[in-house]
């Protein structure tokens, strides 16, 4: 079997401008949604209480809402997840309530209003912890970016590291844009997925850049766009197979992993799809715009004064 029977290098770079415009539009849309809708942050970041209960039979959410409302809880969200028997209740942080006891209090109300609930999970996060988690998340992101830029600049060239990081940050913003648009819950595990994607799709750019560097060194007489086309074409088979394999794993988590892993694998799915796109079709044009050329990779041979053609000095 051989999926990719490509005779000539595909002229990706001829359409570089188009790709960059598409990217820019998607990127701006993502920023727009992030700014207007914002992220639907989980209790881990905002602080508050999350209670997950399970009923043996399908239950009436209205009753639960009403009961909790009567008990004096405001701003609560009650929703089903997974099945009609699983109920998730979210309560915001309230200064006057004894937050540590909220779990029991809510269970007390449920027992009275809609009996038969068994407690599955309680998560309470204080306001300070939430803020710290958000800060640490931002710091982690920053550290990843700096680390990758430095490593790539050392291994390749600054032009490569800048384009790789721009391309991949564009992925991150787009993932966040999706989460903002659909108002999917952004939790700590989603953050982990986002950061994993960042590392993973840089890896994709690295593979392409490796080929670019190799082609620059080996083949003479090709223009920069031609070299980029060649590098992308010769790695495309690997790109698709690798990402396919990773996606299969992620898909399997999406299907079998249940609620906890759902948004995690969703973030990974978007990240993988845009990861392919951005590292091939965003990073490479960027390298081209930044003006990479053969001289950046081939060290000029030192001319020793008085040396003859063979380089021998007598």
């Amino acid at each position: 079997m051989e999926f990719f029977r490509i005779k000539k290098d595909i002229p990706f770079m001829r359409h570089a401008l188009v790709f960059n415009v598409i990217s820019l539009i998607t990127f701006l849309l993502a920023v727009f949604f992030l700014a207007t809708r914002g992220l639907h942050l989980s209790v881990e970041f905002t602080g508050g209480t999350l209670i997950e209960v399970n009923y043996s039979q399908a239950t009436d959410l209205g009753k639960i809402r009403e009961g909790l409302g009567k008990a004096g809880y405001t701003d609560i969200t009650v929703q089903n997840f997974g099945s009609s028997r699983d109920v998730m209740i979210r309560l915001p942080l309230k200064a006057e309530q004894n937050s540590a006891k909220i779990g029991e209090a809510v269970m007390g109300v449920l027992d009275a209003e809609a009996p038969g609930a068994s407690l599955r999970r309680v998560e309470f996060v204080g306001p300070q912890v939430g803020r710290e988690l958000a800060e640490n998340g931002a710091l982690a992101l920053l550290l990843v970016i700096i680390g990758i830029v430095i490593y790539l600049a050392m291994r390749f060239e600054w032009r490569f590291s800048v384009s790789a990081i721009v391309a991949n940050l564009h992925d991150v913003i787009i993932i966040l844009g999706f989460f903002a648009f659909f108002q999917w819950e952004f939790s700590l595990s989603v953050l982990a997925a986002v950061l994993a994607v960042l590392g993973y799709s840089v890896n994709e750019s690295v593979v392409v850049f490796d080929r670019v560097r190799e082609t620059f060194r080996k083949v003479r007489g090709l223009t920069t766009p031609q070299i980029l086309d060649h590098a992308i074409t010769s790695t495309i088979s690997r790109t698709v197979i690798t990402h396919g394999s990773t996606q299969v794993m992620v898909l399997s988590m999406l299907i079998f992993g249940g609620e906890t892993l759902y948004y995690f694998s969703l973030a990974l799915t978007i990240g993988i799809c845009f990861g392919i796109y951005s590292s091939v079709l965003v990073a490479s044009p960027l390298v081209m715009w930044l003006g990479v050329s053969r001289e950046h990779f081939v060290k000029p041979k030192k001319q020793i004064e008085g040396a003859n053609e063979d380089g021998a000095v007598v």
Binding site: F124, Y151, N203, D210, T242, S245, S252
Partner: protein, 623 residues
């Protein structure tokens, strides 16, 4: 060409063997067990406890599959959960005849049921996180400001009595926020006070302020003293938590410090959060009372007639003791308790430090009661225990109290701990709580396991179909990677959580990248007309650089997660980072060893790597 030296093969085989051995315990699973451990710091679990447990179970005809003693206590392994519950009840009755005053913790537990030789090698199953086994997780924040003001209040009282003792006239000692200000009428007394304070209070930093008739000395705690205070506050709170959690009967509680002022408490298997919170938040106090030594009254009390105003207690060591109900001094006045030795007799002793008000009270009590006995009691849940009841020999001033006599060093240590741990050094607040029901835990394991297996199976089928023998080798290398990863996690006893399982799945999905890179490179070489052996060689060689680069960038992200992540993210990051390292070894070394074993050192006409399509040769593709 393409032959590995023998040592490389041996390395691979040994690595696989070690991986296999350490993965093995995970297949044996865990069997139900009952654990008996001490509920009191002063009570040690030893072979006697083991014998009692054994004879109790034997007498009741409960079959066990092994009893043994380890650092945590006596553990009894049982066949099934029914006998486990039965054994727990029996042991509970045997060890705690008085349920109101438990001396031992009898808890349900799970023990690795792998054969003994595996356990002896340190091969244990992975440690499951709370989201996989169910339980409660609390994060408590210690109120350091509270601890600081408490300490400053005590210091101001100390300063007042110190200045009075040294006859330095002052115009008032007041705590203002986080500093203490002392007023003086003239420069001379201020200078005198300064010398006195510098000599007696090395923890204070002093600054002179004000002029004219309003002269002040501002005292603040030195940064080192604050640091020490915070450290001891968090240690003491952890000690207290430990003692309290013992009562919950949790088999393997985790109590750990996180950051400068936080404590994480994890109680696997505990479902009753209300009780857990109640116990964590409870305060214990110390009380000093006098012993009623009136002749005849103790006998009367033992006969059932406790004289009015007294209570009957059993002293440690078993002697009955009649203690007056009137409380002379409470633990609020205790600032520290340290084990040590008596200066004269070199006997083990516990040194107590009282704050200034406490010292004054204590001085009065001892002066008025020379020759009598006083009792030091620890009051918890409204129930008291006599820690010690020494005879007062002389008046004791200065707030330094020494308890000694008929104590071993161990007992002195334990008593000091008990006294310190009796109360919280600073108030605590729950800032994070996570409760996971046991059914959810079991479901999470199944979900994580299913995702990994199905993903792996799909990849295996595809790789074998696409790359044939090389695909099979890649899949074998991937399986080896899984083996190494699980073995490493078991070896390190890292906590496996659901995000951790997700990381295993994701790592496998990413690890196949290395093998795809290698296989594609080999195909490339073949396409360019290289002979099979050269193709393998250059394929592996060329792919290695790329594999290294891409793994390092992924590792950078993993390490950042490890540093800044907490909770679920950390669980993910640990597995992710380890997975990248194991995948480097398995994808490059293990797969190469297999390839060399199959193809190395002989003449090969073609490689079983699937169809290698060459442009120009294949005419089937229409132009």
């Amino acid at each position: 060409m393409n032959r590995y030296p023998l040592w490389k093969y041996i390395t691979v085989v040994v690595a696989l063997l070690i991986g296999f051995i350490y993965t093995l315990p995970n297949f044996f699973g865990e069997s139900p067990a009952v654990q008996v451990s001490s509920a009191k710091a002063t009570l040690k679990v030893d072979t006697k406890t083991l014998d009692l447990a054994e004879s109790t179970l034997k007498a009741a005809g409960v079959e066990t599959s092994g009893l043994f003693l380890d650092a945590n206590g006596v553990k009894v392994r049982l066949k099934d959960t029914d006998t486990q519950l039965k054994a727990k009840d029996l042991l509970e009755k045997a060890f705690n005849p008085d349920p109101a005053d438990p001396h031992y913790v009898v808890a349900l537990n799970l023990l690795s049921s792998s054969p003994k030789w595996l356990t002896d090698m340190g091969a244990l199953p992975m440690y499951l996180g709370l989201d996989l086994r169910g339980g409660v997780h609390f994060m408590l924040q210690v109120d350091m400001k509270g601890a600081l003001t408490k300490r400053l209040d005590a210091v101001s009282a100390d300063l007042r009595s110190l200045l009075r003792d040294k006859s330095v006239r002052h115009g008032g000692v007041n705590r203002e926020g986080e500093r203490i200000s002392i007023r003086f009428r003239d420069e001379e007394t201020r200078g005198k006070a300064r010398i006195v304070l510098e000599d007696n209070q090395p923890d204070l930093a002093l600054v002179e302020q004000g002029d004219g008739s309003d002269l002040r000395l501002i005292a603040t705690l030195k940064p080192t003293a604050i640091l020490k205070l915070q450290e001891s506050a968090i240690k003491q709170n952890m000690g207290t938590l430990h003692n309290r959690i013992n009562e919950l009967g949790v088999a393997e509680p985790v109590i750990a410090q996180q950051g400068a002022d936080r404590i994480v408490v994890q109680l696997p298997g505990v479902q009753d959060t209300a009780k857990a919170k109640d116990i964590l938040g409870r305060t214990a106090t110390l009380e000093i009372r006098m012993v009623d030594d009136t002749p005849g009254s103790l006998e009367a009390a033992l006969a059932g007639q406790v004289p009015f105003g007294t209570e009957l207690y059993i002293e440690r060591g078993g002697r009955p003791l009649l203690v007056k109900k009137q409380v002379m001094l409470t633990g609020d006045r205790l600032t520290d308790a340290q084990p040590g030795f008596d200066n004269q007799t070199q006997e083990p002793a516990v040194h107590l430090s009282l704050d200034s008000a406490g010292s004054r009270i204590f001085k009065d009590i001892t002066r008025e009661n020379v020759g009598k006995r006083m009792a030091i009691l620890l009051i918890e849940k409204g129930k008291g225990e006599v820690v010690t009841a020494p005879v007062i020999r002389t008046e004791i001033g200065g707030g330094r109290v020494q308890i000694s006599g008929s104590m071993s060093t161990v007992e002195a240590n334990d008593t000091a701990l008990l006294l310190r741990a009796g109360s919280l050094a600073a108030p605590m607040e729950i800032v994070e709580e996570r409760t996971i029901g046991p059914s959810l835990g079991a479901e999470n394991i199944k979900k994580g396991f299913d995702s990994t297996i199905w993903g792996f199976a799909t990849i295996a089928v595809f790789m074998t179909a696409y790359y044939l023998l090389f695909g099979l080798i890649s899949v074998t290398a991937l399986a080896a990677n899984l083996l190494f990863l699980v073995a490493l996690l078991s070896m390190l006893q890292a906590t496996l959580t659901l995000p951790g399982i997700a990381a295993i799945a994701l790592t496998l999905g990413m690890a196949i990248d290395a093998n795809v890179l290698i296989n594609e490179r080999i195909r490339d070489e073949l396409r360019n007309g290289a002979p099979p052996q050269t193709a393998i060689h250059t394929g592996y060689d060329r792919a290695f650089d790329t594999i290294l680069d891409s793994n390092i960038t992924t590792l950078i992200a993993g390490i950042a997660l490890l540093i800044f992540g907490s909770g679920p993210v950390r669980g993910f990051a640990v597995v992710h980072c380890l997975g990248i390292l194991t995948s480097l070894f398995s994808a490059v070394v293990v797969s190469r060893a297999l390839v060399n074993l199959v193809y190395g050192g002989r003449k090969v006409k073609s490689l079983s790597i699937g169809q290698v399509w060459k442009p120009g040769v294949d005419t089937a593709v229409p132009k």
